[in-house]
Every structure is written in C-alpha cells, then in structure tokens.
C-alpha cells in the first residue's frame, strides 16, 4: 500500500476502531443487568471484572449484541448454509435485492419520464412536483400495507408489490435530480442551439440529457438506498415470509437480537455494494464522456 492510500485508510480505520470500542463498552453497560438478574435468581454472587465482561459479550439474547456476535452470526448465516436454506442470509438478501432492483428500475424509469414531462409540458411543470413532494410526506410504513392489500386483491403478490413500494420511494430523488440536471444548461447554451435552428428534441438529446448525467448518478445513489428501504418495509406487512425485512421482523418476534443486527448489517452491506456499483458506473460513464478529469 502506498503512503497516499494509507493516508485515506488510516482515518477511516481509526473511526471504525473507535466505534467498535464504544460498541463493546455499551454492550457491557446494557447487558450487565441481565447477568445480575440471573445471578440473583440462582442465588449466587454475580460475576465481576473480566468474568462479568465476558458474560455480557456472550449472551444468547443480549439487549445489545457485541460486534463479534453479530459478525459470527453474519458469517454463519451467509457462508455456513446452503443459499437455498430459509435460514441463509444469502437467500433472504436475494429476495430483498431482487425486489429492490425491480423497484429501482421502475422508480428510475418513472422518475426520468416525469422529469422529461416536467421539462416539456407546462401543465406538468405546474402540477407534478407538489404531488411528488406530497407523496413523500406520507409515512411509507402507513401506505405499504395498503399497497400490499390492494395489489393482493388483484392477484399480485410477492415480488411486484414490494418493487412498487420501492419504486414509490426511489422515483422522487430521480425526478428532482433529473429536472435540475435537464435544466442545468445555461441560457447561452440554449441560445447557441437556437442559432442553429435546432429543435427541442435535438436540444434534449444533444445538450440537456448529456448535461444531466452527473445529476442523474447522484440521484441514482440516493434512489438505490431508498429502494432498499422500500423493499424491506414492503416485507414487513406480508407476515415475515422471506427477505431481510422478514428476518428483522421474526427476529423481533422471538427476541433474536443477534439475528436482527445481522440482518441490519446485511442490508447495509447490500446498500453499500449497490451504491458503490453505481459509483463505478458513474466514474466510467463520465470518464468516457470526457467529464471526469
């Protein structure tokens, strides 16, 4: 590793180490009560010192699982099981990811279409944005069960309703970003095209769309994260059948805190991976367009 890379990695590692240390300390504080409780019921003196700490870090259902417990659970349920197993995080992760990706695709497509409509149609320009904003002020937790129920009554269940909830959350950042991006060319650039007697269509393809690319990718990153949240929320009202949302819900039913934390981390890792993937696409696209230096 070169000195330059070390310079970037070191602060990150320091912060991560600090968080983990704080986490372990919090685990001791929060799980201690249970140790005392158990000792009192057994009528023995509670452990103290290192023994107490060890006990707070190794409970089956701790208030706050220690980092290594979460890590072990994460590794065990990811790599230690057949991906088809109902206990495998790969299985649940894929269920959630597939709904996320479908919802992201729908949301992105819808967002771009709406942005183009807002750009070219005055009536849409005046009317769409307030509705889009209003749609995001409704708590998704309230509307998700409605979507599931309504779609179920017309025979749609499983992937599609979750994808629609995903799309409901992810179209918004794309609309906002793309409207800004498509309007980013300044008056001079538009005047220039006017001197060529270019049509609106030509202005769109040759100027507005390329100019909007940096805005699009920023929106896609936000939209992807929102999509994942949507898919997970969409899994909650279905009765915890499958998916990371189901893992969260069943974990909370049975007090499996380690399982909840493992599912949370799985979701975070999936989200980070997807956002990084979009980042790679962004760099490649902008580089090919000559916009990255």
């Amino acid at each position: 590793m070169s000195g330059g890379a070390m310079k970037h990695v070191l602060p990150v590692l320091t912060v991560v180490a600090a968080i983990i240390a704080l986490w372990y300390a919090a685990a001791v504080g929060l799980n201690r009560a249970w140790v005392y409780d158990q000792a009192e019921r057994a009528g023995v003196a509670p452990a103290s010192g290192m023994a107490l700490i060890a006990e707070t870090w190794s409970q089956e259902r701790p208030v706050l699982p220690a980092p290594h417990q979460v890590a072990v659970e994460l590794v065990k349920t990811t790599f230690g099981m057949a991906p088809s197993s109902k206990r495998s995080l790969v299985y649940h992760g894929w269920v959630t990811l597939s709904a996320t990706l479908l919802g992201f695709a729908i949301g992105t497509g819808l967002g771009i279409l709406l942005a183009v409509g807002i750009l070219h149609n005055r009536a849409m320009d005046m009317s769409v944005m307030p509705w889009a904003i209003a749609s995001q002020t409704i708590p998704i937790l309230a509307i998700a069960p409605m979507i599931i129920v309504v779609l179920n009554s017309v025979g749609l269940q499983g992937l599609v309703p979750k994808a629609i909830i995903s799309a409901y959350l992810s179209f918004f950042p794309v609309v906002v970003g793309m409207v800004k991006g498509l309007r980013s060319p300044d008056q001079m650039q538009l005047d220039l095209l006017k001197t060529y007697n270019a049509s609106n269509t030509e202005a769109f393809w040759k100027l507005r769309l390329p100019a909007s690319m940096p805005y699009l990718f920023t929106s896609l990153k936000v939209g992807m994260a929102a999509s994942l949240v949507g898919a997970i929320v969409g899994e909650l009202p279905t009765g915890a059948v499958a998916g990371l949302g189901a893992r969260l819900l069943s974990g909370s039913y049975y007090g499996q805190t380690v399982q909840i934390w493992a599912a949370l981390f799985a979701a975070a890792i999936v989200a980070a991976g997807m956002v990084m993937l979009i980042g790679v696409m962004e760099r490649r696209t902008l580089k090919r367009m000559g916009m990255a230096r």
């Binding site: 001079m188 005047d191 220039l192 060529y196 390329p210 230096r293």
Partner: protein
C-alpha cells in the same frame, strides 16, 4: 452614411426600436437605430455597458425581437434568416460541451444541419486548420487554454457556410497578449473567407484594428452616436496601431464615446 452602389447590404436597420419591459418600467435598449452593413464589411460595435451593442447583435441573430422599425438580414426578417442558418454566432464564453471533443463540438451544428459523416470530418479538418488548431480535434475542452477554446468556438461558428459571423465580445475574458494574437488571426480569417463580420467589443484598439466600419454607441437610451468608415487598408500588420491614421481614428472613437456619456459625467 456612405453606401457604395456596388456593395449589397447584408444587414439593414431602419428606425429600429427595442424596449424591454422590466419590473422598474420600460428600458429603451435600442432607439432609432439606422445602419447598413454591406457584404464583406467588418463592423465593430463599441460603447459602454447598456448601450445596446449586444442587444443589437442579438436582434440581428433573432435572439431578441425588436419592438419597432425594420431589420433585415440578407433581405429577410432575422427569424427567417436564423431558420436558413444565415449566420454563425460566437458568444463571450466559448460554451463548448465538456462531454464532446473539440472535433465533436465543431460537429454539433453540422449534425443538427444534417451534413453527412464524411462531409462533417472534412469540414472539421478545414475549420480547425483555419483557426490553427489542427491536431487538437481529439482533445477535450478542458485540455485547452481559454484562448484555444475560444478559437474552437469560432471554428464551430465557421463550420457551416454562413456568410455572416456575429461575435459578441469573443475575447473579452482573455488577457491582452492572447487577445492581440487572436485579433490578428480573426483578420486573417476574414481576409481568407470574405465573410461579413459583426463584432461587439469594449476595447477601442480592438475595434479600430479590426474594423472597416466602427459603430459607436451610447446608453440610456441605447443609440448610435457615430459611424466611422475606417480609412485603414484591409491588410493590417499589428504595428499599424502605431500609425498616425490609427491614432486619429482611435481618438475619434474616444470622442464619440465621451460625447455619448456627456449628459451625466
């Protein structure tokens, strides 16, 4: 105004008025503008900010609509002339698309106007040579200096066969040394192509050095205060700027500017 019988007018303005309605009431951007620009002329518009020089150029390009009088470009209304792609326009900023190479930027008007791929390449090569940027076609704009970018934007305006070139303070943002060189190149270009050029500037030496006709304008309301037909020969080395004639014309331009300003200074 002197008007030789043999020359054909490219631009004719008669009693041209242009009023902008702003929140602070109407602003008279152009008042009673009368001007004839003949084919092959190099006309500079000079005057302080707000004198309407850019507005007049934009009216010729049909980017602004006059509110009175008549204005014709090649005998047509400016908007018809725009639709027939009668002119190339160079803005103060180069305005190159950062996602296109220099060649790609020059191809932009050619693509819109429907030239064939082979013709596009041929024209790009020709105009790049004309502005002395041969070999830079594959570079992206940010890889070029400000002066080179502006040359590329001139090449873009030359790429299709408009006989009229409108330039709105094209070198305003460049330093003096680069500006001198580009002035020389614009003159060479004008001599080689025989185009009619309308050129807006703040700089007296630039206007006198380049023009066959200098239009002095003054603000509030925007109007023409003097039109000077330059006695300088068409062939102009840089050191012509030290000649007595040059200094005399520059003096007259300065007087014109001062007279226009007299009412509030």
């Amino acid at each position: 105004m002197k008007d030789t019988a043999s020359a054909s007018p490219v631009i004719e303005a008669k009693n041209l008025q242009l009023v902008f309605n702003t929140n602070d009431g109407p602003v008279h951007a152009l008042k009673d503008v009368n001007l004839t620009i003949n084919k092959g002329d190099f006309v500079s518009f000079i005057g302080p900010s707000g004198c309407g020089k850019t507005t007049f150029l934009r009216a010729i390009a049909a980017l602004e609509t006059p509110t009175g009088g008549t204005l014709t470009v090649n005998g047509m209304s400016p908007d018809e002339a725009r639709r027939k792609r009668a002119y190339g326009y160079v803005f103060q900023a180069a305005g190159l698309y950062p996602w296109r190479t220099i060649a790609g930027n020059i191809k932009l008007p050619l693509e819109i106007m429907g030239f064939s791929k082979a013709e596009q390449d041929e024209r790009v090569a020709r105009v790049l040579e004309l502005v002395e940027l041969t070999g830079f076609g594959k570079k992206f704009p940010w890889q070029l200096s400000g002066g080179m970018q502006q040359r590329a934007s001139i090449a873009r305006a030359l790429a299709f066969d408009a006989d009229l070139l409108l330039m709105d303070e094209p070198f305003g943002a460049l330093d003096e040394i680069v500006r001198d060189r580009l002035n020389e190149e614009v003159l060479k270009l004008w001599a080689r192509t025989g185009k009619t050029i309308g050129f807006v500037t703040h700089s007296i030496p630039e206007a006198v050095y380049l023009s066959t006709k200098i239009v002095v304008m003054s603000p509030r309301p925007g109007r023409i205060t003097d039109v000077i037909d330059s006695p300088l020969p068409r062939e102009r080395p840089l050191d012509i700027r030290d000649s007595r004639e040059f200094i005399e014309i520059a003096h007259r331009v300065r007087e014109g500017l001062r007279a226009g300003h007299g009412d509030h200074e």
